[in-house]
Structure formats: C-alpha cells, structure tokens
Amino acid sequence: MALSKDEVLTGLAEIVNEETDIDVAEVTLEKSFTDDLDIDSLSMMTIVTLAEEKFDVRIPDEKVKDLVTVGDAVDYIASA
C-alpha cells in the first residue's frame, strides 16, 4: 500500500511533534533535521524507529545518514 508524499509528510510531522514538541507546520520538506529542527542523533534514531513502525517500512541504519532533510525522509519512505 503506497502512501502519497503528503500522507508521509503529515505522519512524519506528527512523529516529530510527539518527540520534540516542534509544531507540525514547522516540519516542511526543505528543513534539515539537525540544522533547522535541532534534532540530535538519538532523537533522529527514535524518529526513524517510530517511522518504520508507522509506515511499515525498513530504513537501514546506513541509510539514515542520507536523510538530511524532511524531504529526503519523505521521498525514501514514500518510495520504499
């Protein structure tokens, strides 16, 4: 069951909001997780783990470093 990018973005923003209190409206495609959203590596790993479960996808550990922006993560999850 493929999800649209909009659906993934909405779901991902909810996870980011739950973990960090960052407003869902702030979680936009061009934002960098570390530089713009100030998410540290452990929080990033938490978000990845929760996203894997929510979207029923597998995000390999070695792939996580390539997910620099929210858009990178949305693209990866939507095409997985």
């Binding site: 739950e18 973990e19 960090t20 209190d21 452990l42 938490t46 783990t49 929760l50 894997e52 479960e53």
Partner: protein, 409 residues
C-alpha cells in the same frame, strides 16, 4: 564546613509539591489507594493498592520530557525544579554545583516495557533512548543536565536507603570542598506488576486489599507489611557561607551523617539492630550532639512485623529515658514506602518538622505494639520545642544498609 538546607521539593502520593504534601501529612491523610488496572485479573498480582502520585508528571512536564525520561527521572525533575526554585535559583559556578539523586531500582518501567517490545514486536522496534532511560543514574544525570551541575553527578544505590545516602553524599561533597551547592535526593517509580509481585513473593507487602488507606500501619499490632509508594524528594544543600553570602532562606542545618552495614543477611535486618543503632550513634557523634539534643525522629518504620520494632528498640536503647521526650513519626503510614525516594521525602518531612516545630502524625495505629517505648505521634500533629533542636531521619535498605541523617534548627 557547615552545610545548610535552602530548598525543598517533592512529588508524592500526598501532593504534587511540598506545600500540598506537608498539608496532607499534617491532616493525617493517606495517599494509598486501590490501583486502577487489571493486574490482579490479568497476572494474578496479589496486592491491588499502592501509594500512587497525587499529580502525574505528565500533568506538569512537556510531552517530549515524558517520552525521554523514565517515570523515575520525571519525578526527580519535578521535585528538583521545585527545590531549585524554592532555594531562589542560586547563582553558583557550574563547576561548584553537584547533583546526587538516587533511585533504589532504576528505570524499571522502561526496562520491562522495552522487553515487552522485543517479545511482541521484535528487536528493531526498541527505541534508541532505552538505555539512557533505564540506567539508575538517569535521574541524577537529567538533574545535572538541567541545572548544569558539573561538580559531579552521583547516584549511590542502597535499596530503600538510597535517597538518604544521596543526601549524605551531597553533605559530604560540600564538607570535603568539592561543591558549594548540591541538589540531592531520591526517586522511585516502581508501581509495576513485576516489583509488586516480587515484593509480595518475599512476604514484604501488606495484603489489606480491602482497606488500602489503613494498610500502612507502622507500630500497630496488626501491621502486616509495607505499602509500595512512588515519588521523589529533593533538597538543595549549600555551604552555610555560600547561602549566607547570597542571603538565602535557611531551613535547617545538616549536622550529622551515620552510615553502617549489617553484613548479616541480604534482606533481613540484624535482629538486635546493632548496625542501625550504630548509624544513629555515629550521626550524633559527627554532629557533636548528645542524645539529649534530639527532639524528633522520623523513623524508617515501614509497617513490617519485624523491622519496625528492631528500629524502635534501637532508638530506645540509644536515647534511654530521653526517648520519652522524643516525638517519633512514621510518615510511611500516609505515603507508603517510596523505596529509593523514601529517605529523601522523609528528610523533607524532618526539615519541615524543624521549620514549623510540628511533628507529623502516624496514622492507622489503633493499638500500638506493647513493646514500643518511644513517644509516638499518633493521628494528629504535635508541637516540637522551641530553641535549637535536632532531629534524626533513619533509612534502612535491603542489603543491610543503614543511614541516619541528623538535621538541626
């Protein structure tokens, strides 16, 4: 180097802060209630009540804070924030500020929930913050992080004496010159089916499922075990010099600390209480006091058939006939037993007793143990004398750990 108390904080079964907790204690209210869960039906957990927090941490913390911290650390942070604000947010060099916040058991909810995750959903679903949440030094580490305490962050573990030992360690950090201010105390969040089952299995818990509020009854002839409680107590300790230089309000002084070990049995106290009595003796000696200076004792008294009287006989043997003038309070009758948080919450009670000259009551004592030869404060608070007085707070832990703290004001 004199060490003083300048801030107090708690979240307990009686209230979400010191004011509400103290008010409830003076009113003789019980914080023990029937648990709203199905652990008895689902798992056969034999005890269906506990002293749960009056105010859940998620009512006062942000959502990310509750997700990143085990409940034990959440409670410690709630109490530490109150204590720090109560101390007037001291201006102190970060390298002269310490943190000593203990837990007896550690992040038991995190550990066991993560194991459920492994079994039910697989190892890949275990969250990356699991280790920093379950480690027993997590509460002190979060306190250190929040207040930038860089003189050292410690978490001495000694079961139900942990919170008192933490305050003792904070006292020694200041006395030895390692710190000017130390945030110290204890926390516990162990109301989970596994610890309840395990304590019940060793016959340590009261089984009064039909009378939760009456179950914790230290020194009563029908006491049948302790009642599990949860929560945290935190005190801000400070060198007297530092406190006076900033014009801080001083509640009391920490005058003495006595720590001994029974080396007798892994769980049972030494039957003659020699180790416990020696801890009290050492604490008074270090304080430079005599037994005549003691006006109040907040007992460890957990409401177990054996433990309560070992301690009471020790107090009597130490104080002799002066015990007739010492007001003895067993506040676990109202809060239940906070394990690693107990010694810290009871230090808060002891300090409040000195400040307000009021010894809190012991509830549920309908028929005192005939062997009790200390003046027990029952049902309603009683006045402590004016002038300089001292009070002892006892805490003992499985493993034979004995800690006595002496406060004065």
């Amino acid at each position: 180097m004199n060490v003083v108390v300048t801030g107090l904080g708690t979240t307990s079964p009686l209230g979400g802060d010191v004011a509400s907790t103290w008010e409830a204690a003076l009113a003789g209210r019980s914080g023990v209630r029937t648990l709203e869960n199905d652990w008895a039906e689902q798992y056969g957990v034999p005890v269906t009540f506990a002293g749960q927090l009056a105010v859940r941490p998620d009512e006062v913390l942000s959502r990310p804070e509750t997700k990143r911290m085990d409940p034990s650390a959440q409670m410690a942070i709630v109490a530490a924030r109150e204590a720090w604000a109560d101390a007037g947010t001291p201006d102190v060099d970060s390298e002269r500020l310490g943190s000593v916040v203990s837990s007896g058991i550690g992040g038991v909810w995190t550990l066991l929930t993560a194991w459920d995750t492994v079994k039910e959903r697989g190892a890949s679903r275990v969250l990356p913050l699991t280790v920093p949440m379950l480690m027993p030094n997590s509460p002190t580490a979060y306190v250190s992080l929040e207040f930038k305490a860089r003189a050292g962050a410690h978490a001495p573990v000694s079961a139900c004496a942990s919170g008192a030992e933490a305050i003792g360690m904070g006292f020694e950090m200041i006395q030895s010159g390692r710190a000017d201010v130390v945030i110290c105390g204890g926390t516990e969040a162990a109301i989970h089916p596994l610890p309840i089952s395990a304590f019940a299995s060793m016959q340590a818990l009261s089984k009064r499922n039909d009378d939760p509020a009456g179950a914790s009854r230290p020194y009563d002839v029908s006491r049948d075990g302790f009642v599990l409680g949860e929560g945290a107590g935190v005190v801000v300790l400070e060198s007297e010099e530092h406190a006076k230089a900033r014009g801080a309000r001083i509640y009391a002084s920490v005058l003495g600390l006595g720590m001994t070990a029974d080396a007798h049995h892994i769980a049972a106290p030494e039957p003659n209480g020699a180790g416990q009595t020696r801890a009290m003796e050492l604490a008074l000696e270090r304080a430079g006091l005599t037994t005549a200076d003691v006006a109040h004792v907040n007992a460890h008294a957990t409401s177990t058939p054996v433990g309560d009287m070992i301690e009471a006989r020790g107090i009597r043997s130490l104080l002799g006939s002066h015990a007739d003038q010492v007001l003895l309070s067993a506040t676990k009758s109202m809060t239940g037993h906070l394990l690693g948080g107990a010694g810290a919450l009871e230090s808060v009670f002891t300090i409040k007793a000195l400040e307000t000259r009021t010894a809190p009551p012991t509830i549920n004592v309908t028929e005192p143990d005939p062997e009790l030869e200390v003046d027990l404060v029952r049902d309603t608070p009683r006045a402590l004398p004016e002038g300089q007085i001292a009070a002892i707070n006892n805490s003992f832990g499985f493993g034979g750990h004995n800690v006595a703290l002496v406060f004065g004001a």
